[in-house]
Symmetry: C2
Subunit: 461 residues, 2 copies
């Protein structure tokens, strides 16, 4: 560990027991946001967070009511001229079902083999609590903080995050910051300090094909009547070639290749395509565009997928219907530089140019958000990478995630701030599954890393 | 009307009132086969049929219990050396819903403008009762019958006809005949004597595609994981070209063109493609293979249709799933000479040759039955056509039906007899709809036609 992190490290070491006991207390609150019978527990968890923020030394703390579960806001703004960091986390958890699969009760945290087992230990109570303990550590050591700090903690992450999205959109001045700190992800692998710097965007569409004015009997009309389900198959089946490359003109126009630094970083990852295929995907073969590695395909290439087709007959047995209409659910995943509006327009044009005879097709946009690419030259990212390497004694890797993290998109869109996605979980932590765990060493390393990051981010460049 | 039909015609004229009253009595029994609360009414209708068959002079009558609604069998076999005719009909009816749409109650038959309004008037009580009254007429006039007769009447036609299918398969000796007489269809148009001599066959298949071992998040795996729904779209979407021609090698191999006599007959029909498109299909354009008329496409060309796709996400809103599996329901309509087994084999080969990467695809056959083509040179058909023309004073047209009539397939497969599909309904009779009607003149003409047909079929050629 680097010289200047010694006091922080020593403080955390000295308070290991208490930091663990406090987290266990937090984990005992069954704050299952989706369960209406847990409403009081969810509120109790919000209050616990508010109290601990105050205990840590955040002078201003609010519990903000919403249509459902409250937000917790806190700030410490006594470092004029220094950057402001917005810390994000969530205090709600997934349901623990199936209960019988847990080796110890989900809301009775216990340590086994260096892991803390409990629902929420990694996702996200344990990681969020690191931020609070990092602030306590810095204030205890220095009596002040190296940066200005804001905390915004939600209780609806596992159920869609509606309240925080609305709050961020409506309060940009209050939440103004230079960088956000989001610890709700994982290390790429054990002892591999990891910063996630790219998220794919998402366009979700419904494609409705209409043919006959009413459902028809395929015996009486088959051969003369247009079939909306078959038409969707012809239309959408032609949207990709056999290799998986998208054949819709214009979709690849603005696609940006990953930076050399990123590609180098990916090449260094302990990623085994065959193991990924067997253990994660579970298919006989990986598919997708030729000429790109699997990681490139899921992190840095756009995709087109069909998720389902509503309409027609799907029950048991046989019904020979030609339905009047059918609707496909489709999506595009977007990568940096792709403009959702341009991709939607390209898709509409493709549909228009290829609509099968006798059908009319309507495309409805359900949602559209661009990809996020965090600038690895941003001071917060550079410093986070350096500190992360120092604490773990290994070079930090930059990865991406093929999915979106909505709060990161909200922070980018409404506040214009980049998010430092610095997570300390492990890929096998069992988020959303029985026997969720958090590696205890990573909890303590996380507190040290966050504290060091704040300290160095507050120092003149 | 032809000279020798005069006595038959006079007898029917003389008993118009009674023949109508008896039919009304039959129609007042709400024998809705699908409604468990109508079980007793259905049995009452079976008994009514049995009683009227006995009254008409059929010496041997049975009400045969089945797992659900009874069959009625009757015979008169006192014409040695003469052909045997098997008369088919059904005494069950569709539900009358929506009740409020009826101008008069569905089970309270009334005559308005020369039409008899009631559920079952055309489908099929009125048409089936014509057969019984034709027998009564012939026995009353001659004291004997010109042919041997068997009646097999079912009470489950509207719910799948399971009992009669089983009975026909199990009793070929008892049901042996030279021709069947089926009056459950319609005239092609008013005053157009019509014999249906072709029915398409049907193969119904499920095509299940399997990809990942479990449902995947399209953000995390899209671009590398095979997608069973998209794979089905690529595979099945390629099964027809843009015009609707089937691209599966081998499917057209044995397709037989309609006989010149049939094609001439079709050209004479009052068929208007544009009216058909607007009023029956209700689409902006008719589709299908180039070079064939709409009637040829629905009556004499095979088709491939997709009826639905189960699997994935089809609810409201958005879910970005790559499902582990998806199943399409598909069918082929077959025309004469096509062997269902060969078509299934061709489809399996097509699936095998075109299975998208990363998927495994299973094809399951739910049912397979060949097309039916009745030989227009068969004595029963020749005579039926001649008599039909004589009674109506217009040439008989030969048509086909794109759908199957299961009992005709059963008679062909298990008894080896052709069916004379001689119906007297009209296209606008409203079968299965409110205000079902049967043209009263067609009822009487039907009795005369059936009686004359039996008489002439019994005469030496």
């Amino acid at each position: 560990m680097h010289e200047h992190s010694r006091p922080i490290s020593r403080f955390v070491d000295a308070h290991r027991e208490r930091f663990l006991e406090e987290l266990k207390q937090f984990l005992r609150i069954p704050s299952v946001s989706t369960d209406p019978e847990r409403g009081q527990d969810v509120r109790r968890a919000a209050q616990f967070v508010a109290d601990r923020l105050r205990d840590a030394g955040l002078g201003h703390v609010e519990v903000i009511p919403t249509d459902n579960h409250p937000l917790v806001y806190a700030d410490w703004l006594h470092a004029p001229g220094k950057p402001t960091v917005l810390c994000y986390g969530h205090y709600d958890v997934q349901p623990p079902d199936p209960l019988e699969a847990w080796l110890s009760p989900p809301f009775d945290p216990v340590v086994r083999d260096g892991n803390l087992y409990a629902r929420g230990s990694a996702d996200d109570k344990g990681q969020m609590y690191m931020h609070i303990k990092a602030v306590e550590t810095l204030l205890a050591l220095n009596g002040t903080l190296p940066v200005n700090l804001k905390f915004l903690i939600e209780g609806e992450e596992e159920i869609g995050g509606a309240a925080i999205a609305q709050y961020v959109a409506g309060n940009p001045a209050k939440l103004r910051a230079d960088a956000a700190l989001v610890s709700d992800t994982a290390l790429y692998a054990e002892n591999t300090p990891t910063l996630c710097v790219g998220l794919r965007g998402l366009i979700y569409l419904e494609v409705e094909a209409k043919g006959p004015s009413h459902d028809l009997h395929s015996g009486l009309y088959g051969g003369a009547a247009p079939n909306p389900i078959f038409g969707l198959m012809q239309l959408l089946g032609a949207a990709k070639d056999a290799s998986g490359a998208i054949r819709i003109p214009g979709v690849y126009d603005d696609v940006d290749a990953p930076a050399p630094l990123e590609k180098e970083s990916w090449a260094s990852l302990p990623f085994d395509e065959d193991e990924f295929r067997r253990n994660e995907v579970g298919s006989v073969k990986l598919t997708g565009e030729r000429g790109y590695s699997a990681l490139e395909r899921i992190w840095a290439r756009p995709t087109f997928e069909v998720h389902g087709v509503a309409g027609g007959f799907t029950g048991a047995g046989a019904k020979t219907v030609i339905p009047a209409a059918a609707t496909a659910k489709v999506s595009f995943r977007l990568v940096p530089k792709q403009d959702p509006a341009k991709v939607i327009a390209a898709f509409r044009k493709f549909v228009e140019d290829n609509t099968p005879e006798g059908l009319s097709i309507e495309v409805r946009t359900l949602s559209a958000s661009p990809a996020i690419l965090i600038d690895t030259n941003h001071a917060a990212i550079r410093i986070a990478a350096r500190v992360f390497s120092e604490v773990f004694g290994r070079p930090t890797v930059f990865i991406r995630d093929g999915a979106s993290v909505p709060i990161v998109g909200d922070f980018a869109a409404h506040l214009g701030v980049p998010s430092v996605m610095m997570g300390f979980g492990l890929p096998d932590d069992g988020l959303h599954a029985p026997n969720e765990k958090f590696r205890l060493e990573n909890y303590y390393h996380g507190i040290v890393t966050v504290a060091c990051f704040l300290e160095q981010y507050g120092q003149p460049a």
